[in-house]
Assembly symmetry: C2
Homo-oligomer: 269 residues x 2
């Protein structure tokens, strides 16, 4: 029997975007084993219905529970927005972290005027998830959201510093910058790769990157539960995906910031 | 028992793009019943592996054969490129039309210098499907292809006449226009909606729209097989999708060019 603290953290996403969260976890918690699942055969979730997203999510959670994880990290804004409560229910008592709860908390901690902008996929924006999470802690905060469906394909195309991306970002930010926001939540795990460009286009705004804030929240939750792994200098990382498509390696490594090894394919459908 | 000619034509796609082919079929063959399947729960296929695409395609073909279709129309370039042979095998002897075969034939008929450009998704381009289909008929033809992964999301965002789209198209067309092509195949069923913009950006190039060319090929094949429906003034149209996501109605109607009724959800996974 494995001691609870030695069990892996289960991290999942609809695709490769969640690897930005894995990267932040590796940096913040370098002793932790990690099992990742990315549903690359059915990505993207951001344009699918609630019922479909809940169904796919239940399959992934079952798969990770089968790996005896000690905590779950929902590294996908769409899943967190639509099916976060279901994940918590299935997880029993173990810690469940998600990018929306972590991002909402960090945004409130960093904003001075509590006037917060959110950019995300259409489903996340329409689920109103960040506004609900922020208002649960501060009902006076003012939230403006913008769906940015083109940013994920632009990141995956690798156009991180391209005129097309700059023009698209400018178009999406226009209504947000017309409001006096002082903080902008990057409400999709693909967006951290656009941070340099976003900083140029909105120089006076504090960017909240939900990958690093989620890693921070995971460190706190594992510490509180006495589940931190403190003696594991060579941690085990496993990456499962439901499909290994064209350019997966290239794109995945861009997100993870290091080479991607031990990828296994695992069909859930 | 339904007379063979009265049976529906089965049309399928990974999502809504195939509705541009349905639209062309409705206009070219106004007496035909049509059953459509769009795999909206698992769209897009263009970034997935061959094995996954073949698996999904087999499920869709089974579903349509269960509707006693008299012909199959592969209204998805990615499926045609990767799994066209499997569809023909499963279909037994019935006519099978696909956007790539139809587009390749039309391109050769329209090009004068047999110097043909192709724009498509990454998978279609990497499968080299148009080049193979064109070279099978004319080994001397010269083909230049360009993967355009951003055009589908731009069309779905509705930015059909937007500076971002114009800049993106210009970037993608640059290497094609550097060659002396006289004909450009729109190798994705989303692209017909960009025809006005493409005409402005490449005014001297003949555009081959695979939706209308596939409808033309279907008319010929059904005629040759004695399967044309000639007495059906109020045809039956049925639309099945594996998910009804946000904005489906809006986007679908933009592709179909009329109101979308009788949509049913049907899970295949």
């Amino acid at each position: 029997m494995i001691a609870p603290a030695n069990r892996p953290i289960g991290v999942f996403d609809s695709g490769v975007g969640g690897l930005t969260v894995v990267r932040a976890l590796m940096e913040r918690l370098p002793m932790e084993n990690i099992v990742y699942f990315g549903d690359t055969a059915r990505v993207p979730y951001g344009v699918k219905s609630r019922a479909t997203i809940e169904h796919f999510t239940a399959q992934i959670v079952d798969f990770l529970l089968g790996h005896e994880v000690k905590a779950l990290v929902v590294a996908c804004n769409t899943i967190a927005a639509v099916a976060g409560h279901k994940v918590r229910h299935s997880a029993g008592g173990m810690p469940v972290l998600d990018v929306i709860a972590a991002g909402a908390q960090a945004a409130l901690a960093q904003s001075r005027n509590h006037h917060i902008g959110v950019i995300a996929t259409s489903t996340t924006v329409n689920a109103n998830a960040y506004a609900r999470a922020i208002h649960a802690q501060n009902p006076q905060a003012r939230i403006v959201s913008q769906a940015c469906p083109l940013l994920v394909p632009l990141v995956e195309e690798g156009w991180l510093d391209h005129d097309v991306t700059r023009l698209t970002v400018r178009e999406y930010l226009k209504p947000l910058l017309a409001d006096p926001i002082d903080t902008l939540v990057l409400g999709c795990t693909h967006y951290p790769l656009l941070k340099p460009l976003l900083k140029q286009e909105a120089p006076h705004i504090t960017l909240v990157d939900s990958a690093t804030t989620t890693a921070e929240a995971a460190a706190r939750a594992l510490g509180a539960a006495g589940l931190l792994n403190s003696d594991n200098p060579a941690p085990d990382y496993r990456f499962y995906v439901s499909d290994i498509p064209l350019r997966f390696q290239t794109i995945g490594e861009r997100f993870l910031g290091r080479s991607l090894e031990q990828i296994e394919m695992m069909s859930l459908g």
